[in-house]
Amino acid sequence: MKIRPRIILIFGFLFLLIMVITTYATSYFVRLNLKVHSQEEILALTINKAENVKEFIRGQENFMANLGASQVLRDYLGSPTLEEKSRAKERLTRTLGTDNNLLELLLMDKTGRVVISTGLTREGLDRSSDTFFTQAQEKVFFKDIYYSESINQVNYAVAAPLKDENGNLEGVVVGRYKPDSFYAVVLSRAGLGKTGENFVINSDYYFLTPSLFTAEDQVLKKQAVTVNTKECFDPQEVSQIKTNGYQAMGLDNVFSFTNYRGVQVVGTHAYIPETSWCLISTKDQTEIYAPARQLTYIIILISFFSLFFLIIIGYIVASRIAKPIEKLDDGTRKVAAGDLDYKVATSDQDEIGELSRSFDRMTKKIKESRQGVAREVKEQTRELREKENELEKQQSAIMNILEDVEREKDITSRERDKLNTILHSIGDGVFVIDLDQKIILVNKIALSIVGRSDEKVIGKKYSRIFKFISEKTNKRNDQFILESLRTGKMQTMPHYTNIVAKDGREIPVSDSASPLKIKGGQVIGCVVVFHDMTEERRIDRAKTEFVSLASHQLRTPLSAINWFSEMLLNGDAGKLNKEQKRYLAEVYRGNKRMVSLVNALLNVSRIEMGTLAVEPEPTSLTELSDSVLRELEQQILKKKLEVTKNYQKGLPLIKLNPKLIRIVFQNLLSNAVKYTPRQGKIKVVLKKVKDKIKIIIRDTGWGIPKREQNKIFTKLFRADNVKEKISDGTGLGLYIVKAIVKESKGKVWFKSAKNKGTTFFVELPLAGMKKKEGAKGLIGSIE
């Protein structure tokens, strides 16, 4: 909610709250006050009036007492002569005239007989039963207000005794009065306000006087029976009054009650013991509390007016607060919209004024900083422009160069066209990349292999188009390209590399990456050539299967012959004679040769197919050598050959394919054993020389004639000198050895002289063999 209504509402609410509280408080206290005040007033008034009544009664009594002392009257009563009677009557009549309220005066003798009457009462009447006779025997008697039939009116009587010198009663004189003067005393309105009511009742609760609200004709007809009147005649209170008079009366005798009219009044009473009357005095509560009510009305009225004014003032005050805030708000909007010159510019000294001035300061600062920034930008723009100019100059210089280059380019582009034509006619996929590995040249075949014949690939990174992966691991396999770029040397693709075509097919590829160099030898790019090997692989697989099958087919009958010969020789089919044994042994041996030949042929075919598998593992050459020697033990013992082993201590393990190297050992050692006559010597040396391992196998055998040394590693070659002596031999062993050693990145050579012995040297790099993927292992002769 906005400030203005909020302030107004809050204040309005607070004000109302205060007013309500005030009203109630004041009302309460005022009423309390009024009550007490009224109580005091009424009490005082009542007591006063009661005294008045008493005095009135006394007055009346005195008057009659006086008359009772009249000599004339006494004379008459003493001697009732006519003369005395007329004198007495004259006296009485004269007295009658002094008071308007006197209705009649009566003189009664001591028997109670009316002897003289100034009024309607007949003389001679016997009124001895009347209280005004009976009660006035000793002293003056005030007779109650009552209705008298004889005079047909409400009256009161005062009787006084007439006594002789001796104090003996002679007669009673009675005065009968109209109650008017009595009424007047009671009905005086002094201090009664508007609703103050005074009246006198008798012990039967009958009105003895009229009152403000009771007409005279109600006298002695109407009753006032209330809490108040009852309390007045309460015996305890009556005795209190009789003993202590009105002193005993206090404020607690003045209370609020419902009067005979049913009206809520505050009033009290005063007992008049002389006549057993009660004076009642009440005031209407409404009149008593009227001031309070008036006050409340006034307060409410004032409140409303005040509220009205307060709202107006509140509005004004709120405006005074809100306006500068609105102005400030407006200002922020204007500034936010971009008008930095706008000032709220207030001169108020209050907090809002401070705020708006701060705001103006801030705006100013923003403006300044903006200007500052604008200046900087200008400065920078100027710098930039200068640089631009420089660049333009440079550009034109370059343009000149470029023109020259263009000319060159024309030449080269013609060359390039030539090149392109050549490229596209090459049967292999070719692409050229720059140092950023982005394709700068590509031929159709390369794109068609990967199924991207329609794509524009110039400028893209080659790895996005030509994805080389290893068939085995599915991981990227194009390090050969990066190697080529880095080393400036040609690198061959690793075996079993596939390229992933656009549609996800994997196509086996092979070939190489060659660096592109400019004059001076700096590598500026790389040419990658690859060709789809799918067909080759198929052929290869077919060849492999063929060889496998062939070997199986060839060996099965050989195995049969082998085993049956074995069984026969073992005597499993019965005992053989010497000759049978001999022939059988020949059969067995022949078979063994066949097996060996078949194995060797298969190995050779595998070597030629290039499908040798190389799985290097850390190998102990000493163990291999020992193992092979153990195999040949029988033969060694038979020929009584002396074998010396010279293994260097602490020879490290080399990563080799143990099976393949075993074959090397087998071939070389079995050759040494085979081609050394009885009691010959064989020496096996294993040692480490720099970063290579050397295997030296020396024998004291028949050696290799010089003439035939150059053919020793060729297929199926056996030197004549040994052919003579040993018919056994495939002529393939050394060919296989050479192939294996070459594959292991090693060297094999020999030194030999006829009949002097032969020494074979094998050198293998410590770094070991590189892993070569191949489907086949070589067939070992002995597992």
Partner: protein, 127 residues
């Protein structure tokens, strides 16, 4: 174990079957022959064997690898030691056989029957 040991010879070549069978019997084995995967499965279902002599190339559908796979997949059969004796020396194939759980691989032509059988005998008797 009481009683004679029984071996299933799975080999396609008749003449070789004969040799193996005779040699096995000499060593005290009871033998049963099968020349194809189908026949081998049949025999395996009928009888309890202490060892299996398995060749790679077989008659009919499937080869030694297939049979070995089936054997190893069968709860009742997978515990029977399988010896692969074949003339193929393809590294891949050997690896596969070993991976599937063949006890040993022998190249027929290079081994004396005696040795092979001795080994089998020794292997199953150590249980």
């Amino acid at each position: 174990m009481m009683g004679q040991r029984k071996i299933l010879i799975v080999e396609d070549e008749e003449m070789l079957l004969l040799a193996i069978k005779k040699k096995m019997e000499k060593k005290g084995f009871l033998t049963c022959e099968a020349r194809s995967v189908k026949a081998a499965i049949k025999s395996l279902a009928k009888d309890k064997f202490d060892a299996i002599w398995l060749d790679h190339y077989l008659l009919g559908q499937g080869n030694g690898l297939d049979l070995l796979q089936k054997i190893k997949a069968d709860k009742k059969l997978k515990k029977i030691p399988v010896f692969v004796i074949s003339n193929t020396v393809s590294r891949e194939k050997i690896k596969k056989y070993v991976k599937l759980g063949a006890v040993r691989y022998y190249t027929k032509a290079e081994y004396e029957l005696n040795r092979i059988i001795n080994y089998i005998n020794w292997y199953i008797s150590k249980k």
